[in-house]
């Protein structure tokens, strides 16, 4: 079974630029999560999708971050404009359902904002 795919793996941008990350979950997984992991901290949930609907985006900085999951499969996370404090690893995870509780993580995208 293929795992969660993410791209790019690394990205370096200047502040005020925009960036987008892509995630392809495990086939058949209805639930998709985006996390932000700042160095030295545990992952923090940004947004959770169930199919193509948003379940929880309470910690998503909506003035600069946006995410979509068209057709309930792939997802993109966008930052516009980026700030220095957005430097982090962005992790995508998927699960088989709202109450499956086991999440499968992709390798992450390491973003550096200079």
């Amino acid at each position: 079974e293929a795992g969660v795919a993410q791209s790019p793996r690394y990205k370096i941008i200047e502040k005020r630029q925009s960036v987008a990350f892509w995630c392809n979950p495990i086939s058949g997984h209805a639930t998709l999560y985006w996390y932000q992991q700042i160095l030295g901290q545990g992952p923090k949930l940004l947004i959770q999708f169930q199919n193509n609907g948003v379940v929880d985006d309470s910690q998503l900085p909506k003035d600069r971050f946006s995410a979509e999951r068209l057709k309930g499969v792939d997802s993109t996370l966008k930052i516009q404009p980026a700030k220095l404090e957005d430097s982090a690893v962005y992790l995508c995870a998927s699960g088989s359902g709202l109450f499956s509780y086991e999440q499968y993580f992709g390798p992450g995208t390491r973003l550096t904002v200079t």
Binding site: G42, D56, G95, F99
Partner: protein
Amino acid sequence: AQSVAQPEDQVNVAEGNPLTVKCTYSVSGNPYLFWYVQYPNRGLQFLLKYITGDNLVKGSYGFEAEFNKSQTSFHLKKPSALVSDSALYFCAVIQRAGYSTLTFGKGTMLLVSP
């Protein structure tokens, strides 16, 4: 609000010795508890979970964890450490009711010396 504390930034143990990585939690009601492991440049991997039932939970790679409700703890253990166990370990909690939103601790680096 739910939270997780991992009081040790780093745990050092010699190969062949038993290891313990500590975790305490705070939730209202009964928790669902998880351990994940993160190897360098890789995403988080699920190790084990406690949902209900036996307080001693067995997981992948010979790891186990003991749920202690009175002490609100969920320490990760292994009887005999391997050098290959060296990685970053995260404890996480979900409040029993509601959606599958994980709250992670800050992580504990486990270093196993030969």
